[in-house]
Structure formats: structure tokens, C-alpha cells
């Protein structure tokens, strides 16, 4: 393999129901940084059916070019048609780097493609940089449940591929004046590649805001004692305009839904404000929230590890402090409204 033939940063632009996943924009933001260091372009690869209207927003968020594979066989994600189409794109264009969201799609597609095109893949990266001397991609990820970090390189194979957890990288401000450049790419007989049948698709209905989209999260853990006590967190979240999340302990106990879980086996969040109530702060939990702009911890145990990462820590009874704090916030907001 002559690795010098491989040029450019590619981002797999994930869409579901013809809506782009947020992580696609985050990857474009990071892709731009990498492309700047390498002196190359950023390309979004968009697979789907009837998805051409999505090309404009990919361009606004940083794609110099969009490679579009638009085919009815790609309407709903299935491993094989997607893996085949993407592998064909990679074989033709020979990118240096390919980034995927570490989603339920990306973590299925990327390994299949890496085995097919015979290259390395690094999972769940939280840091991506270019090594100045070698121009290799430095892929940093947590291991051992977030206890240690490892920097991985893929020196002799191309493309260098990585999945990145949603919520870790930052999207850039959209640029509406960026010129749209779309290249259509045809893959023959894609429909015949399907080797499974989708019998049914069942969407979960959640009335709540996605915790990765929330600017403010009020999070509860084992110290909440039971599901009924989350109402005081709901009340605080409502006043602050946020939503509730939780630690793994509260999910495992069945107090809250799995989609609320923050941490290594849940979601990574970086809200403006994260309020941890009755969460001790196991390393697996910290891995999912420590990039929050401001962290508040309320816990009765002064030795809880959560206080190590908190900007503001309150030692005491959360059942007393949280309702009083909710009232104080209401007052402060009312005061500002009249000022």
C-alpha cells in the first residue's frame, strides 16, 4: 500500500429518516481542524435515498465537497448495502482519514468496512490530532472504562479510520455562503447486496428532550433513593429550562429510562451546566460528563469523587438543598425579569 496516494479527510454523514445526525456536524467541525493541519479538503459522504437536500447543510457546517450515493436500497440503514457502497467510495477516492459517529450505525458499519478494505479502526475516540512530524492521525480514546487514555496510530494502512462519540467534538458556526459542491457516485446493483430483511421498525416515543441536546442537565444517581424522588429534579430542570439525566445506578435500578444515562455505557454530554445530585462520581460516569462547561455536585458524602471534578460542590442533604435551590432560582429569575 502506497500511503502517499491517500489524500483528504472524509466524514461519514449519518442520516436517519432523511435527517442528519448531530454527530455528523461535529465530525465536520473536527474534520476541518485536521484538514487545516494536513493542507487538504474535507469531504462528507452521504448515503441514503432522496437525501440530496441534506447536502447544503453539510456544506454550511464545513464540507468542501459532498459525495452523494443516492439509491433506494439505502433508504433504511442495513449493514451490507451501506458497507458495500461506502467501501466502493473509499476504493475510488482513497481518502487519508475517515471519521464516523460512534453510534449504533457507525459502530456496525465502520468495523465491517475496516475489515473489507483492510485498514485499522479506532473506536470511540475523544481526541484527534495530526502528529506534526509524520502527519499521522493520533487517535486518543478511553480504555478500561475510562480509567486510562490511549493514543492509537495506524501508520502503515490507509485510510486511518476512527469512530467518535456524539457530543465530544464541537460543530462550527454554519457558513451559509460556502459554495455547494456535490458529486454523485453510482454503485451498481446495490439492492442485490441486501442480505437481510427488515420486518418492522418500531420507534420509541420519548416526550423528553434528548440529553445530548440539553444546555442544562439535572442528573440523579443512587442517592436519589427511588424513582418518586426524581420529581424534585424535574422541578429544578423545568425552572432552569433543562432536562433530567442520570447515572448508571439509577438506570440499573429501573428508576429512569436508559436514554437518560450519562457515562461510559450511556451518553457523553457537554451541557453548559451539569448538576449532579446524589451521584458519587464513578470514573465511568465522569467519562460521560466531565467536559461540561460548569459542574455542580450535591452529595452528602464529602469524600465522593464527584467533588474532584465539580466547580461548585455542596455537601449536604440534596432532598433539602434541591427544593430550596429551585426556589432561589425562581426568585433570581423573577428579579431579573423585573430589573
Amino acid at each position: 500500500m502506497n500511503i502517499k496516494e491517500y489524500k483528504g479527510v472524509f466524514v461519514f454523514a449519518q442520516q436517519v429518516d432523511n435527517k442528519l445526525a448531530g454527530v455528523s456536524f461535529e465530525l465536520l467541525g473536527k474534520g476541518r481542524d485536521l484538514a487545516k493541519d494536513l493542507g487538504c479538503d474535507v469531504t462528507a459522504v452521504l448515503l441514503g435515498s432522496g437525501v440530496e437536500p441534506l447536502c447544503a447543510s453539510l456544506t454550511e457546517y464545513g464540507a468542501d465537497r459532498v459525495i452523494l450515493v443516492d439509491d433506494p436500497a439505502l433508504a433504511t440503514y442495513m449493514t451490507e448495502p451501506y458497507a458495500h457502497a461506502l467501501s466502493e467510495v473509499l476504493k475510488k477516492y482513497k481518502p487519508e482519514i475517515v471519521l464516523y459517529g460512534a453510534t449504533a450505525i457507525g459502530r456496525d458499519l465502520a468495523p465491517r468496512v475496516s475489515a473489507r478494505v483492510h485498514t485499522g479502526l479506532t473506536a470511540d475516540c475523544t481526541g484527534l490530532d495530526i502528529e506534526p512530524e509524520t502527519q499521522h492521525l493520533l487517535m486518543t480514546r478511553p480504555a478500561f472504562g475510562g480509567n486510562i487514555m490511549a493514543t492509537i496510530i495506524c501508520a502503515e494502512f490507509r485510510p486511518q479510520m476512527a469512530t467518535v462519540r456524539p457530543g465530544v467534538m464541537q460543530r462550527r458556526e454554519p457558513d451559509a455562503s460556502a459554495p455547494l459542491k456535490v458529486e454523485r457516485f453510482e454503485v451498481k446493483d446495490l439492492a442485490s447486496r441486501a442480505n437481510v430483511d427488515i420486518l418492522d421498525i418500531v420507534k420509541k416515543v420519548s416526550g423528553k428532550m434528548d440529553i445530548q441536546d440539553a444546555k442544562i442537565l439535572v442528573s440523579g444517581g443512587r442517592g436519589m433513593g427511588g424513582p418518586e424522588n426524581f420529581t424534585i429534579l424535574e422541578a429544578l430542570a423545568k425552572v432552569l429550562g433543562g432536562t433530567i439525566s442520570s447515572s448508571r445506578a439509577a438506570v440499573d435500578a429501573g428508576w429512569v429510562e436508559k436514554d437518560r444515562q450519562v457515562g461510559q455505557t450511556g451518553k457523553t454530554v457537554r451541557p453548559k451546566l451539569y448538576i449532579a445530585c446524589g451521584i458519587s462520581g464513578a470514573i465511568q460516569h465522569l467519562a460521560g460528563m466531565e467536559e461540561s462547561d460548569l459542574i455542580v455536585a450535591i452529595n452528602k458524602d464529602p469524600g465522593a469523587p464527584i467533588f474532584e471534578v465539580a466547580d461548585f460542590g455542596l455537601v449536604g442533604d440534596l432532598f433539602k438543598i434541591v427544593p430550596l435551590f429551585t426556589e432561589a432560582v425562581k426568585k433570581a429569575i423573577a428579579k431579573k425579569a423585573t430589573a
Binding site: 449493514t79 475496516s114 420486518l199 455542580v296 467533588f307 438543598i321
Partner: protein, 259 residues
């Protein structure tokens, strides 16, 4: 029906602690366990055994001590176990691990291959889909329920906000989520038998595979360095009466224009 389950022996990362002084992992005294997702996969395979009399073979690639994980699987009720172990396989990344496991699987007959979604030490979720690619069979990841009928498997495949019911013709590989089933306990007679059994060890010479696809040399990726995360500076921690605490915090957030 023949089912192969791939399992990994992992340190129980929930019990791994950091040495605050040196910043290194304290692995001493940390018990080794069967990776939890893999154990759910074992349970799914054993249900197929209960239901259809499926023959279940468990494979593990690892150092000689992974033998203990295989014996635990035998004691749970699997029929056969094979340890894939050789220094030549050491240092493998997911690409080389999956190609080695695929080479071992090619020596066996199978209708269904089950791996855990991901291992708690590496959390990559890559080895399952990569094995299926090396074998050229379909894979269905993130399985939270399965049903086998008429030479087909139907899988409840989890996504973030939905699930798909997916049907595939066998052979097929699935990656198991813990939702697939609470692993059964080992039985006393199973434990007794498991420790009497001879577990075959397949080494480099038992597999038909190129040297360029195994071990460190067959691994496209390398660990360049590993380190512990820099600890961020500690903030302000207060212990006051609840009313004062609440007021103090509201003032801080007000200063930061959050409220």
C-alpha cells in the same frame, strides 16, 4: 443447529482503581470475569440448546489463564470449549483478533455465531462485525432479542431511538446486548464436570492463516502511548446549612449569567 459463542476474559473494570500517586492502574487483586455482553450471548446460545438441542461451542482467544473463563462457560452448560492461545497471537488489535478468530471458526461448523457487543476493557464493539466480514456472512449487531425458525434468525436490533426487527438466513453472526438474557448460574454438577474436562488449545500451527493477519504484526493499529487523564483543578466545595447552600449556589450561577 450449531452455535459458536466467542467470549473474552476481562478484568472487572468496575474494580480497577487508580493509584493516585503514580497514576497507574492497580490491577492487583482485580478479579477476571467473562465479559458481561459475552455472558449474555452464552445465555442466548444455551436457550437455543434448551429449545432446539443446539450444540454450543465456546471459543476464547487469550493467554492460558483464559482457560478459567471457558470452564465457567462449560459449567453453565455449553458442550465444547476451545482456547486459542499462542504468543504469536499476542498484541493483536481488533483487525488481527477478528481474523484469528475467523480462522478458528472456519475449522468448525456453524449456523449462528454470537459475540458480545463489546468488552468492558476495550469497549470497541468491533470484533464481532469484523469476524463476520472475514467469514463473508451477514451480521446483525446490538441484538436484544432473537428467535430462530426455519433456517432463519429474527433479531430485535437496538438503535438509539428505535429498534428494527431483522430477519436473516443462517448462517449469521449477531452481537449480544445484556438485554438478551440474564446469564444462568453454573450448576454444581456442571462445575464438577467442567473441571474434569480437557480443553483443547489451538495454537498458531492449528490455524490456516497468513502471518500478516495475526498478532502485533498483523495489526494495522498500535498503541503509541497510554496515560491517565490530567485531573482538572478542584473547584469550591462548601458545607453549609441547606438554605445557605441553596442561596450560595444561586448567587454563583447568577454571577456566571446562567440564571
Amino acid at each position: 443447529m450449531k452455535v459458536i459463542v466467542c467470549i473474552k476474559q476481562v478484568p472487572n473494570t468496575n474494580e480497577v482503581k487508580l493509584d493516585q500517586k503514580t497514576g497507574t492502574l492497580i490491577r492487583e487483586g482485580v478479579p477476571s470475569i467473562i465479559n458481561p455482553d459475552d455472558k449474555a450471548g452464552l445465555e442466548a446460545a444455551l436457550k437455543l440448546k434448551d429449545q432446539f438441542g443446539a450444540r454450543v461451542t465456546v471459543l476464547s482467544m487469550g493467554p492460558p489463564q483464559a482457560d478459567a473463563a471457558l470452564r465457567e462457560a462449560l459449567a453453565m452448560g455449553v458442550d465444547e470449549a476451545v482456547l486459542i492461545s499462542d504468543r504469536a497471537f499476542g498484541g493483536a488489535d481488533t483487525w488481527a483478533t477478528s481474523s484469528t478468530l475467523a480462522a478458528a471458526i472456519r475449522k468448525l461448523e456453524y449456523d449462528i455465531i454470537i459475540t458480545g457487543r463489546q468488552a468492558i476493557d476495550g469497549d470497541t464493539a468491533q470484533v464481532g462485525p469484523q469476524i463476520s466480514e472475514h467469514l463473508g456472512i451477514p451480521n446483525i449487531s446490538y441484538a436484544e432479542g432473537i428467535e430462530v425458525k426455519d433456517g432463519h434468525i429474527t433479531v430485535k436490533r437496538q438503535y438509539e431511538d428505535r429498534y428494527h426487527m431483522i430477519r436473516a438466513k443462517l448462517p449469521c453472526l449477531i452481537t449480544a446486548l445484556s438485554e438478551l438474557g440474564e446469564p444462568r448460574y453454573m450448576t454444581p454438577s456442571g462445575i464438577f464436570d467442567a473441571w474434569q474436562r480437557e480443553i483443547p488449545v489451538w495454537t498458531r500451527s492449528d490455524l490456516t492463516i497468513d502471518d500478516s493477519s495475526i498478532g502485533l504484526n498483523g495489526s494495522p493499529t498500535r498503541v503509541k502511548r497510554s496515560f491517565t487523564k490530567a485531573v482538572k483543578g478542584k473547584g469550591t466545595v462548601i458545607t453549609l446549612e441547606p438554605e445557605e447552600s441553596a442561596g450560595w449556589l444561586a448567587d454563583r450561577l447568577s454571577e456566571k449569567f446562567i440564571i
